[in-house]
Structure formats: structure tokens, C-alpha cells
């Protein structure tokens, strides 16, 4: 039961690492690849702090084996924006005080990213339902919802302007 070669595309870069099949994706990202944005909060797929985007789906990386992820295309918070060009969601979380301790934030934003890809103009209720896989202990969600709604509006405005 030795280690296997795990090939991933992470934030647009192809990477290869050695891991035991049982190693969890979150550990491979954090320990092997130094991608420490996604966090470990509950380890039972309830809190969503470890959320990454895998093959166009929001996935809790604490409940995926490295072996299962082999070959996958993964985007983490580190791949959403750059210090010089933040993603609109990152901007809006700052603008609307959508975070406090910051521990849930990477998972929260990564999930919100996929939510808005699938539903670019959500109602507040749809945001609350669509974000229900991510727990936050600090904000009471009110400003998170506000930030996501604002990001959707901003993204739609940019899209309209482009057309």
C-alpha cells in the first residue's frame, strides 16, 4: 500500500505528487502542494472550509481521497484572483464585511464562485440555499449574502457593459 503518483491540474498548473491512496485531497493540497487557502474545519463534510472547485463542481476536499482526485482539474481560492486583480467576490467580501476570522472565507468564496457560475442572478433565498454547505461562526451570514449578491450584480453589470 505504497505511494502513488497523483497528477492534478491546480489553478491552471499541472502538478504531480506522491501520495498514499488514503491521503485526503485537502492534505495533499495543503501539505504536498503548499496550497493552504482551503482549511480543515470538521473533517466530516459539514463545514465546507475545505471547499475547492473540482471539475466544475464545488467539492469538500476533506472527503475526497487523493487517489479519487487523480487527474482532476482543481481551482482553489489561490486561483481565483491575484493580488493585483482580485476576483469580484474577493472585492465584495472585503467591501461588505463578509468575513471576520477568515477561516471559512476561502471555502466560502470558492463555493460562491461556482454558485454564481451556475446562477448568475440569484435571489437572496437562492444564495442562502446555495451557500448552505459552508459554515461560518463569526458573521451570521448576513454580510456574506450581501457580498455575494453585490458580486453577482457587479459581474452582471460588467457582462452587460461588454455586450
Amino acid at each position: 500500500m505504497g505511494k502513488m503518483h497523483v497528477k492534478l491540474t491546480v489553478n491552471g498548473k499541472q502538478v504531480e505528487t506522491l501520495a498514499e491512496p488514503r491521503e485526503l485531497l485537502i492534505h495533499v493540497l495543503r501539505e504536498n502542494l503548499n496550497i493552504t487557502g482551503p482549511h480543515i474545519g470538521c473533517e466530516t463534510s459539514h463545514c465546507g472550509a475545505c471547499t475547492v472547485d473540482m471539475g466544475g463542481k464545488s467539492v469538500k476536499s476533506c472527503t475526497v481521497f487523493a487517489a479519487q482526485a487523480n487527474g482532476a482539474d482543481i481551482t482553489t481560492i489561490e486561483g481565483l484572483g491575484t493580488p493585483d486583480g482580485l476576483h469580484v467576490l474577493q472585492e465584495m467580501f472585503k467591501e461588505h464585511h463578509g468575513l471576520q476570522c477568515g477561516f471559512c472565507t476561502p471555502g466560502m468564496i470558492t463555493r460562491a464562485y461556482r454558485l454564481l457560475q451556475e446562477n448568475p442572478d440569484p435571489t437572496e433565498e437562492e444564495v442562502r440555499f446555495g451557500m448552505a454547505g459552508n459554515l461560518c461562526r463569526c458573521t451570521g451570514y448576513q454580510n456574506i449574502v450581501k457580498a455575494i449578491m453585490a458580486a453577482a450584480a457587479e459581474m452582471n453589470a460588467v457582462k452587460e457593459a461588454a455586450q
Partner: protein, 284 residues
């Protein structure tokens, strides 16, 4: 919460997967979405030497609608069930129920096959499939066979499926008429305190067909024929709904847990069923 070691296999056909199961025997298990199995492995309550991942088998990933027949591959995710319009037109109750399972991330990964196969009484799809009178196809070393969802579940985590068989697809006939899936839970991500699936067909105000199933209220799903019978042929009036509810509550055997004691669960089961019948009736 760290799982024990295992060898990993990703076969690309059902035959290859079955062969692995046969070769490795007791030490092998298949994994679909993994959101039931992986937590058990992390708690070291599921110990295995070989993990057989079904994600490489493309045959298990489609939803086929042919005439009145619906066939869903075991690896179709909850998210895909929700999104599929053809399926929605044939059996809208599936979307309604799937939306009440777990949370968005889990629904992207969790599969119908995994949900129905592992025999967890908390899972929603087994009861729903009993309500739809679905049939499961399992494939083993001796070929394939079909098992009715209504006779698949023996006890918690014990099913008709043999250890060397893989559940490959789920089939049922299109259901017209009214439907409702009512689930009480403590929060998003929780299993049901009590849940109820109801299908009702009406003709001129009279109930011509009914199907009822209950989730997480016994160690298997419960599909009380006597409850459905109490509705069929009636005008779905208060007396017949009460009779159906009473029959269903008599058929369940809930266990006390953090969600509440038995007395409460029985009561709430009746409430969920009543709501489901009323909503299904309104839609029929």
C-alpha cells in the same frame, strides 16, 4: 480522523470492477461519491484493504428516458438528478427530494447508486425509490439480476445485494399525477427526523393510485401498502387521509436519537405524511 491504508483501483468497466470484488473478497469495497463511506473510514469503523472506485465506468453515468421507462446509472449524482429536465418531466418528485439531501457540495458528489445501495436508513433515496416502485439492477460474477426496491432492504446496512455484486442502475416507470417529498430535519446537511414521499393519481376527484414511503423511521425504509390502500378509491377526504396516516404510523418503528424520542418521531412522521398527501393531492 485519518483512514487506514488501502490499495486503490479505478476499473473502467463493471465487469472489471466485479472481478476485483471477487478477487479481493471481504477486504474490498466499491466507492461512488464516498460521502458515507469516507467518514466511516476516517472513524475507522469501515476497514478495508482495497477500494474500488466506480468513477471510471462511463456506463454508470447516464439518465435514460425511453417511453415511460426511466433508467438512471448508479453513478449519477444528486446534482445531475436535480438538473436533468427529462427526468423532471417523468418524475418531478426526484428533484424535490434530491434538493432536500445534504448540501450543495455533497450533492455534486453524492450518487443515486451510493445513496440507495449502502442501506443507511437515514438516506432519502431508498424510501423515494420504494415510493416509485423502482427496480435496482445488480451485477455480480454470475451476471445481472433485478431486485425491487421494496424488497431490497433487510436491516440497517444489510441489503439483498451480495458482497460481490455492484448496483449498476435504478429503473422505474414515469409517474404522472401529484407528488410531494416532505422532510423534517434539524438543519441543512442533516438526515431526516422524519420524511415522507407521496405519489397520488386522481381521476375526477377520486384517488386512482397512491404510493407512500417513509424515511429514517425504521431501520429500513417503510412503504406501507395499507396506507396507500386507505387513499385509493377515496375522494382524499379527511377521514381517508387520517386512515392512511394512522396506517403508516403503525408501520414505522423509529429509534430514539438526538433528534428526539420515539413518541415525537411517530407524531412528526404523521405530520410529514399528512403534509405530503395534502400537497400531492393539490398537485394531482
Amino acid at each position: 480522523m485519518i483512514p487506514g491504508s488501502f490499495d486503490y483501483h479505478r476499473p473502467d468497466s463493471v465487469g472489471a470492477a466485479v472481478k476485483l470484488l471477487v478477487d479481493f473478497g471481504d477486504g474490498a469495497r466499491v466507492i461512488a461519491g464516498g460521502h458515507s463511506l469516507i467518514p466511516m473510514m476516517k472513524l475507522r469503523m469501515a476497514d478495508l484493504d482495497h477500494l474500488i472506485d466506480l468513477q471510471g465506468i462511463n456506463d454508470l453515468k447516464s439518465i435514460t428516458v425511453s417511453g415511460a421507462n426511466v433508467t438512471i446509472g448508479a453513478m449519477v449524482t444528486q446534482h445531475e438528478l436535480i438538473a436533468n429536465e427529462a427526468l423532471f418531466s417523468m418524475a418531478p418528485i426526484v428533484r424535490e427530494a434530491a434538493l432536500q439531501i445534504a448540501d450543495p457540495q455533497v450533492r455534486y458528489v453524492g450518487t443515486l447508486g451510493g445513496n440507495v445501495a449502502n442501506g443507511d436508513p437515514g438516506n432519502d433515496m431508498p424510501g423515494l425509490m420504494q415510493c416509485l416502485d423502482a427496480s435496482y439492477t445488480v451485477v455480480g460474477p454470475n451476471g445481472s439480476r433485478d431486485i425491487a426496491a421494496r424488497s431490497f432492504y433487510e436491516a440497517a446496512y444489510f441489503t439483498e445485494r451480495q458482497d460481490d455484486e455492484i448496483l449498476t442502475s435504478i429503473s422505474f416507470k414515469s409517474k404522472k399525477g401529484g407528488y410531494a417529498y416532505e422532510k423534517q430535519k434539524r438543519k441543512i446537511g442533516d438526515y431526516a427526523t422524519a420524511a415522507s414521499a407521496v405519489l397520488i393519481e386522481k381521476d375526477g376527484g377520486n384517488c386512482t393510485a397512491a404510493s407512500i414511503a417513509m424515511t429514517n423511521l425504521s431501520d429500513t425504509p417503510v412503504c406501507p401498502q395499507e396506507a396507500a390502500a386507505a387513499l385509493i378509491g377515496t375522494a382524499l377526504d379527511e377521514a381517508s387521509i387520517s386512515a392512511a396516516v394512522t396506517a403508516a404510523v403503525n408501520a414505522i418503528d423509529p429509534a430514539e436519537d438526538n433528534r428526539g424520542p420515539v413518541e415525537f418521531k411517530k407524531y412528526v412522521a404523521g405530520i410529514m405524511l399528512r403534509r405530503a398527501i395534502e400537497r400531492a393531492t393539490a398537485r394531482a
